[in-house]
Structures are given as C-alpha cells and as structure tokens.
C-alpha cells in the first residue's frame, strides 16, 4: 500500500476517534443537564414548596437529654430504617466520666462511651459504681447537614446534594452505592441501606419539615432537647432564636471545617 493512502487511512482513524469523543462529550452534557433538573425536583418536598424561602437548623441541649432513645426509635419508624444495630439516622451516646484516682493530679479519670442499639429502649444501668462517677451525660447524634459537607464533595455522581434550605439529601434513584460518602463523613452518620444498596442518612425528615411539621425525633423528644426551626421565617420569640441567644453553642469536630448546621449547647470536650 502506498504511503499517501496510508496517511489518509491514519487520519480517518483519528477523525473517527475524534467524533467518538465529541459524541460522548455531547451525551455527557445532555445527561448532566438532565441530572441537574432531576435533582431540583427529586426531593420529598410537596409541589409548590420553595426551598429558597427557608433555612432549617437544629440545636441540641445536651443538658436536657435523658437518653430515653425515643428519638432514635421514632426515626426508624418514620424513615423505615432497618431495625438492626448497624443502621441509624440518629442515635444517642452515653458518656460516663470517672473520677480520677486519688492523688493522680488529674481532674478526671477514664471516659466510657456506649450507645446500645443506638439508645433505642434506653440505656441499661451502668456497671460503674456511682461513687466512681465524676459526671455523666447523653449526646444525641444525627447528620450535621454540613454547609461544607465532605459527603457531598465525595459523591462521584452527584447523588448527594445540598438543598438551598439547609439540608443534605441523597437521591436513591441515582446513588451507585460506592460508599465513598460513608467514608467521607467524619461523624459516622451515613450507611449503605442493606435493602436498597444506596447511601442513607438523616434528612431532617425533609418530607415532614417541608409540610410544616417537625422532624420525627424533635416531635417525640419528651424533654425538648432537640430544638428545630426555620431561621428565615423565625419571629423574635422563636424557640430556636431564643436558644441561640441564651446559650454558648458548639459544633462537633469544628477543626475539620465542615460547618455543621446542627449546634450543641452544654457539650463536653470528650464528646466527638
């Protein structure tokens, strides 16, 4: 074969390759547009709900939590979370800080933490004798709905997304179940649902709050530990605003820069 024909043939191959790449790029763009529009509508919010007109936050008063586990139980019921000790959208941890041995020169001793079945059914009496306990408290945990959420950053397909009203949601019809978001969450708030094989987490009960209801956990809490509100529509006497005004607040693991939207009052440094 002559070399002139040769170069034409080579060019032909390259041009076909080019067309293939261009076709794939066009397809990718089209699918991206579809995904973005899909994301805008695939939330459990009712028709007519405008996420730009709300800004949801939760604050937790650690001093009020009695560790009854009603919140974790209600969450499992409301969101059909598997009744299994390995899957929770919210749970409560019990911290028991022991007294330091006499003469040790330390302010406190060992810290014991537990959360049997995520606190559902309450906590059994501790085996630590009362005389050895310096202090004890309960810390409710849930997704922090971070503004700078590492889970959202990690998702390779964009199935996890941040809503304009302050929630981080997962589109289960889009999630590929790679689990990178689960690894990326510093708070252990995510899991792969063993039935749907997709990532799952607390949504602030998005289907409830967008209909004017409280999240299930806040609804059932008997002590008012969980204070939930809409900062964009809060009146001056709103419980959430009052709570912000009267307490010194903290977030979990602030050094990671995740900017949580869930705040705690009365948190001990031992709580992570």
């Amino acid at each position: 074969m002559k070399s002139s024909q040769q170069s034409v043939s080579r060019r032909g191959v390259l041009s076909a390759l080019g067309k293939l790449v261009a076709g794939a790029a066009a397809l990718a763009t089209a699918r991206k547009v579809r995904a973005v529009t899909k994301q805008a509508v695939t939330t459990p919010a009712p028709a007519g709900y405008d996420p730009t007109k709300h800004q949801w936050r939760m604050a937790l008063d650690v001093n009020k939590c009695i560790g009854c586990g009603s919140c974790a139980d209600a969450c499992k019921n409301e969101n059909h979370v598997p009744r299994d000790p390995g899957y929770f959208r919210t749970w409560v941890e019990r911290y028991i800080i022991k007294k330091a041995p006499h003469g040790s020169g330390e302010p406190c001793g060992e810290t014991l933490v537990d959360s049997p079945n995520g606190s559902i059914g309450g906590f059994p009496p501790t085996l630590v004798p009362k005389s050895e306990i310096l202090k004890a408290f309960h810390v409710p945990k849930l997704c922090n709905q971070c503004s700078n959420s590492p889970c959202d950053m990690a998702c390779p397909v964009g199935a996890t997304f941040r809503t304009p009203d302050g929630a981080v949601l997962v589109d289960p019809t889009y999630c590929i179940g790679c689990g990178f978001c689960v690894q990326a969450c510093p708070y252990g708030c995510r899991f792969i649902n063993p039935l749907s094989h997709t990532a799952e987490k607390c949504t602030f009960c998005y289907h409830r709050i967008t209909r004017g209801l409280k999240p299930a956990c806040a609804e059932v809490c008997p002590t008012g530990t969980r204070i939930f509100g809409d900062l964009k529509n809060a009146k001056p006497d709103d419980p959430l605003l009052q709570f912000y005004a009267k307490n010194r607040l903290q977030v979990l693991k602030p050094h990671l820069g995740t900017l949580p939207r869930v705040f705690y009052a009365g948190l001990d440094e031992e709580a992570r």
């Binding site: 191959v13 000790p85 899957y87 998702c155 397909v157 590929i176 990178f180 690894q183 969450c185 995510r190």
Partner: protein, 407 residues
C-alpha cells in the same frame, strides 16, 4: 426481604461481640471489603509495569529491552481487570456509567472513568498498536489458522511497512510513552488521593498518601515483571538475560528504598505531630494490624527483599541460585504490597472515627465479596497476560533470534 434483614441482624449481632471500645453505630459493618483492597493493588501493578516499560523506551535503559513488551502487555492485562473489583463492590453496578456521564466535579472518585479511559485508550492501546503494527503486518502473512485474520484485524488496515512509516511508528510510540509516564503517575496518584483526601479518616487523610501509592505501585509493578519474566523464561526454557534481571533488581531495590523512606516519613510525622488520632492509630498498628503491617508488609515484604537485593549487587556467584533469589524476592514484595493495600483499606476502617474503639472485619469465603472472588480477581490478569504472551510474545522473540512468529 425479611430473610435478608434477619440475616443482616444476625451478622450484626455477631459483629457486636467483637467490637472493642466505642464505635459509632453505623461503623459496625465494615464497608469497603477485600475487593477494594484489590483495586489499588491491581492499579498499582498497572502503573508500576508501565513505568518499567518507559525506562527502556524513554530513558534508554537498553538492558531492559527483553521486558519492554512484557511490561506493556502486563500493564494492559492488569488494567483490564482493575475496574472489576470496583464494579463487584458497587451497590448498583448497573449505574456505574453515571460516573462518566454525570461526574461530580468535586469528587476525586469521579475522575476514575476518565483517567481509566485515557490510560487504556490513549496510552496503552495506542502505544502497543504503534509498537506492534509492523509485527501484526508480518504475522498476518506468516501465521497459520485463525491467528492470521486476528493479526490482520489488529493492523486496523494500516499495512504500510515502509521505512518512513516505521519511523513514524517509533516516533509516535516514544511520544505516547512520554505522555504515558505522567499518566501512570496520575492513575495511581489519584487512587492515593481518593484515600488521602478523606479528612474524616486520620489513617488515610495524609498528603503523603498519593506519593506513597505511586512508589508502592512502582515497587509492586517492578516485582511483578521480575516474577513474570522469570516464570515465562522458565516455562519456555529460554535463557534468562541476567543483565536484564539484575537491572530489574536494582530498580526494585531503589523503588523499595524510596517507598520505605516515604512511609517512614509518614510515621515519623504522625509520631512527632501526635495529634488526637495518634493513640488509636498506635493501638491499630500494634494490635489489629500487627502481623499484616510489621511482619508481612515491613519485614517480609520490604526488609528481607531489600537486604537480599542489596546483597546480590555485591555477591555475583551462581546464576541459578541468583535467579531463585530474585524470584523469591519478587514474590515477597508482591505479597508485601498486597498487605500494604490491606493495611490501608481495611486498617482505615477498623478503628472508629470517634477514635474510641475498633470494629472487626470478617472475610467470607464465598459470596460476591468473599475470599474466593478475591483470589479469582487476582488470578484473572495472570490468565489474560498468559494469553497475551502466547499471542503477542512468541518464544523466538524472547530468545532474540527472530521477530517472526513460528507457527
């Protein structure tokens, strides 16, 4: 569905027995299994093997000529298998194409499809094609039976073997290799970045992770070539080119020393900075990872082969004994790097992000993410590379007598 839930509940109850200290409830079931251990292992072998090929092609290390094509074929065979463990692990493998269709720009994992496609199509396949084109043309005329149309097909219709065309092939091959070197670094560096970018996990989230991954990839890739070269020569009863083997040995030793230094730096930094995660990481290394980290990865996989390779630079007696020693070294290094991937992937999930306790990992024997599947996925690239050697690396070529295919 109820049965599935019950099975999960029982498994979780059993796992709960093995939890030490406190873990977040969702950390009970370790998520990334042995398949995710294999993914960086196989990708590392791809990148390492390619870098060896580039030494000959770009840096003109002529003593490595006998393994140039073997390196390229090995790289391709392992690259073909590399995504399989990922696919096997996905909750929804049927949606995997979304990673390429709607990649999320902020996710290091989203780059996978593109890096993979680039490396496969723009680097490996193209370079192999330019390198083999002349032989494909030749073999399509001399080979017998069904091989003839196969080689003919692989020429893609470009059958010009004039000097000018061959010069162009060579030039293109060289250019692609030059592009290929940063691509190989990108391929494995990005795998390291997937882990290194997880700030939630102190075992993974270090800036050194991509560097560690690149050097460990080179170590494992070089060891794999040493292993494959020896086995191929022995099976084909071809004389092993000792100069080539010794050069591979020196490359392996260099890569081992650099890899060890970077990993040592990582530990020195952790111990010196001593942040809040140090206690749990020391417990992890000295407890659950003790054997796989210190015995397999560090001692058997690094120290022993490094000393052995160093000794062989000095003592040059007995070529048969030396071949056996090189063979054992390559096997030890391959096992050591597999242990390193295990320690990173599984180790990083054994401790709780609350830094207060440990969960456990139970490797099943059968099942989608079981031991048998893992063994199958490790053996598969060896099967593929064997077929490739049979098709594209005729015995005559290894002896250096002729480039024509003999059947």
């Amino acid at each position: 569905m109820i049965a599935l839930l019950m099975a999960h509940k029982e498994a979780s109850a059993e796992l709960l027995q093995h939890v030490q200290g406190f873990i977040y409830p969702n950390e009970l079931n370790l998520l990334w299994s042995v398949l995710i251990v294999l993914y960086p292992y196989l990708t590392g072998l791809v990148a390492g093997a390619f870098i060896m090929a580039s030494l000959e092609r770009v840096f003109n290390v002529k003593s490595l000529k006998p393994i140039y094509r073997l390196s390229m074929l090995t790289s391709l065979a392992f690259l073909l298998v590399a995504p399989l463990p990922l696919l096997g692990h996905l909750g929804h493998p049927e949606r995997c194409y979304e990673v390429m269709m709607t990649p999320h720009a902020t996710s290091p994992m989203a780059i996978f499809g593109f890096v993979y496609a680039w490396y496969l199509m723009a680097v490996l396949l193209l370079e192999l094609w330019f390198d083999y084109r002349k032989d494909f043309v030749e073999w399509s005329q001399t080979a017998a039976g069904w091989k003839r149309p196969l080689y003919s097909l692989l020429t893609l219709g470009v059958r010009d073997v004039s000097e000018k065309a061959l010069r162009l092939d060579d030039k293109m091959g060289r250019i692609i290799t030059i592009i290929g070197i940063p691509s190989a670094f990108l391929l494995h560096g990005y795998v390291g970045f997937i882990f290194g970018s997880v700030k939630a996990n102190p075992w993974w989230g270090t800036v050194l992770m991509p560097i560690i991954f690149i050097f460990s990839a080179m170590v494992s890739g070089i060891a794999l070539l040493m292993f494959l070269y020896l086995v191929t020569c022995w099976l084909r009863k071809v004389t092993v080119d000792m100069t080539c083997l010794e050069t591979i040995g020196k490359c392996l030793l260099t890569a081992l020393v650099v890899d060890f230094s970077v990993e040592a730096l990582d530990w020195i930094h952790r111990l010196y900075v001593a942040d809040e995660s140090l206690d749990v990481l020391v417990l992890l290394a000295s407890g659950k990872l003790y054997y796989s980290l210190f015995l397999v990865q560090m001692f058997l996989g690094m120290l022993v082969p490094a000393l052995c390779l160093a000794a062989m630079i000095v003592y040059k007696e007995g070529w048969k004994r030396r071949q056996t020693a090189y063979f054992v070294c390559s096997l030890l290094v391959l096992i050591g790097i597999l242990a390193m991937r295990w320690n990173v992937v599984i180790g990083g999930q054994l401790f709780s992000k609350s830094l207060r306790g440990f969960t456990t990992y139970k490797l099943e024997l059968v099942g989608q993410e079981g031991l048998l599947m893992a063994i199958l996925l490790v053996l598969l690239p060896f099967v593929i590379v064997s077929v490739m050697i049979w098709l594209f690396l005729p015995r005559a070529e290894m002896t250096g007598t002729t480039r024509a295919i003999d059947d």
